[in-house]
């Protein structure tokens, strides 16, 4: 009598049910709610050309950085240096255009991504081979990269007039009313999201994040995965730097300052557990949109924008408490299932 009941094949209803219960849906609903509430107060927020564009465009750069950050956090690390990488890459891009005015634009993207990957590789190599916590290493490189940036830049500033018009146009251009940068972010999201969910390599990130020792005993190449995660985060931040240059056109030595907090906040709010092993990059992107849209909505709703950071903090804490509650509930259900069997 030990027949184990086969789990029912996932029907359309149960799929819909799990979709409705998923963290990503919850975050998206919260995002929709914020947009709706703000739009009721001021229809311009959604129903004007600029409002619609800003809604999609403003969070896109943080979203790209958050995708890389999510991969790192899923592997049970954290990358605090992303803001400094964004800043350093943005300045590199600006300097390239100053030095070589006709620099081809696709090549600029490649250079930015390659440079970001290189900085990420430094992080990853130190973490993976030094066997020291990522937090300390990336705290160190946060300082070091920013310091290099400030020494290099000085009080210099690169202005929009130093960069080609086509490049700057990328920052505001729209295709069928959707900003190009947002399309780019969605493309990266689709790629990384598919990879993380469906490939062997992607699942290894989750395995390592859930239990690094078990993953290693099982034979997974932990060092390699950690390296890849940091390079991915560096590449995403490098791309973020290029996009920042295109979008804002003004680059000083403080570009990207504080991005690490927004990226980590976005990932955590989006359901990427800080202890690793769970969450999706889609959640991180929704987290970024929720976070930055709340920032933009506060002044419209009559709350002085000085309170932005307090709201962000409260959201992060709320999200991690929610994560814990959900994890506890799931653990309890699994225990009950086991004792019932």
């Amino acid at each position: 009598m030990t027949t184990v009941a086969a789990p029912p094949a996932p029907g359309v209803l149960s799929r819909l049910g799990s979709l409705a219960r998923s963290r990503e849906t919850g975050i998206f609903l919260a995002f929709a709610l914020v947009v709706a509430a703000t739009t009721v107060k001021n229809p311009q927020f959604l129903f004007s050309g600029d409002g619609w564009r800003d809604l999609l465009l403003t969070p896109a750069i943080v979203a790209v950085v958050a995708i890389g950050q999510a991969v790192v956090i899923i592997t049970r690390s954290v990358d605090l240096s992303v803001g400094s990488i964004v800043g350093l890459t943005a300045y590199l891009v600006g300097s390239l255009f100053v030095a070589v005015p006709g620099f081809p634009i696709p090549l600029v993207f490649l250079v930015g991504i390659a440079f970001g990957s290189l900085l990420g590789l430094v992080n990853g190599a130190l973490v993976a081979f030094g066997r020291v916590p990522a937090m300390v290493i990336t705290l160190g490189t946060l300082y070091a990269y920013r310091g290099i940036n400030v020494v290099w830049t000085g009080s210099n500033r690169i202005n929009a007039s130093d960069m080609p018009r086509d490049f700057l146009a990328l920052g505001t251009q729209q295709v069928l009313t959707i900003p190009v940068i947002t399309i780019l972010a969605v493309a990266i999201l689709a790629m990384v999201g598919w990879y993380m969910a469906n490939t062997r390599g992607g699942r290894e990130f989750y395995a390592i994040g859930s239990d690094p020792d078990a993953a290693e005993l099982y034979g997974l190449a932990k060092t390699k995965r950690v390296l890849i995660a940091f390079v991915a985060s560096g590449a995403a931040s490098g791309l973020g730097g290029v996009l920042f240059a295109a979008r804002y056109g003004t680059i000083n030595s403080q570009v990207g300052d504080g991005f690490e907090l927004q990226a980590i906040g976005a990932a955590v709010i989006g359901g990427v557990a800080i202890v690793g092993g769970s969450g999706t990059v889609l959640g991180a992107v929704f987290g970024a949109y929720l976070l930055l849209t709340i920032n933009r909505a506060l002044p419209v709703l009559g709350i002085p924008d000085f309170w932005q950071r307090a709201v962000v903090g409260a959201l992060i804490i709320g999200a991690i408490i929610l994560d814990r509650v959900l994890a506890n509930r799931q653990a309890k259900r699994l225990m009950e299932d086991r004792s019932a069997a």
Binding site: L126, I274, A310
Partner: protein
């Protein structure tokens, strides 16, 4: 299978007991940092004009005082394996509280007391979320880093409160005789003594180390791990609030963005001072030396007109090097202790 744990910090700590006492006392992280500090001080005194003067010493100590104060409480928090990223924000919130209090007509001691209460409360919130709900300290304090800073900035906006009781600001800026040593250093030395006794000479302090080495083992040995960690978070909030009061009075300015990013400086100094990021290891004399090392370097470079930005590179590189050095040393030590160990196959 035991070779898999070769590089772990625990093995290293126990392995150290195999060495004679004098070598353990002389050749350790703390002594290395103190030696480096002395070397930098000597080099700076010889090479940098005006470095070895009471005036420079005064400015140097005034600059590092808030970091020293917070590091005293951050060290035990990190020795238990936790971390508190919200301290910089708490410095801001505490100085804003002090500013608002005095603006409402309260005297500096009363407003300061309220600021300390705010600090203790902030630390309590961190501690409760970490110990009662069981959330990771890193995540909680990233959240409260934003939350406390947000409240500080929200309360004051972009305005600054700069009217503090002259008597108190003069007291904070005063020095002991002609030595150049700030009077507030007396407070710091007393607190250092208190924290050193607590950490190194009481059962509570032994509990702090044992939690860092293995929380489960500590609990089974009768250490109230949850209470210890909670107390340490409250202390961390308190010291950050004290640093905030100092900050507001010394710079005569309470702003929402006071001491932004100070948490990173504190953690860098504490790790540089030999506190293991895995927990379970560290000593306050190393931590003080770590803070002073960064302070001396930045002051010496400032005097030769190298901007403070180079200091951030040096801080970062020192931080990375110091943790990497620890890892490499423990790897070498483990190799020496187990020469015949078969190579570990990892893949």
């Amino acid at each position: 299978m035991t070779t898999l744990t070769t590089g772990s910090p625990d093995t290293r700590t126990y392995a150290e007991f195999g060495r004679p006492l004098w070598r353990r006392a002389l050749f350790n992280r703390e002594m290395a940092i103190i030696a480096l500090l002395l070397a930098v001080v000597v080099a700076a005194s010889v090479m940098v004009p005006k470095f070895a003067t009471p005036v420079t010493l005064g400015y140097l100590l005034f600059d590092v005082t808030p970091i020293l104060l917070i590091a005293l409480a951050m060290a035990p928090v990190m020795i238990t394996g936790d971390i508190d990223l919200s301290v910089g924000s708490m410095v801001g919130l505490s100085s804003v509280t002090l500013g608002l209090g005095t603006q409402m007509g309260l005297s500096v001691p009363v407003a300061g007391l309220i600021a300390l209460l705010v600090g203790a409360l902030g630390g309590l919130v961190n501690g409760l979320l970490v110990t009662r709900i069981g959330l990771p300290a890193l995540a909680v304090t990233i959240g409260t880093l934003a939350l406390y800073r947000g409240i500080a900035v929200g309360l004051l906006g972009t305005t600054a409160i700069t009217q503090f009781d002259r008597w108190w600001t003069t007291l904070v800026k005063s020095k002991i005789g002609g030595s150049g040593i700030p009077t507030v250093m007396i407070v710091f030395v007393l607190l250092l003594a208190a924290f050193a006794i607590m950490l190194h000479f009481t059962p509570f302090g032994r509990g702090v180390f044992s939690i860092g080495l293995s929380k489960d083992a500590a609990v089974f040995s009768g250490v109230d791990a949850e209470r210890t960690r909670l107390v340490l978070f409250v202390l961390s909030g308190l010291m950050a609030a004290l640093a905030g009061i100092y900050y507001a009075l010394y710079y005569n300015s309470a702003r929402g963005d006071n001491a932004t990013g100070m948490e990173l400086q504190v953690i860098a100094a504490v790790v540089l001072g030999g506190v293991s990021v895995f927990g379970g290891r560290g000593a306050l004399h190393g931590v003080v030396a770590g803070v002073l090392l960064i302070g001396v370097l930045s002051k010496a470079l400032q005097l030769v007109n190298i901007t403070s930005d180079v200091v951030s590179i040096i801080t970062g590189v020192l931080l990375v090097l110091s943790v990497i050095a620890g890892s490499v040393l423990s790897w070498i030590q483990a190799k020496r202790l187990r020469p015949a160990a078969p190579p570990v196959k990892t893949s």
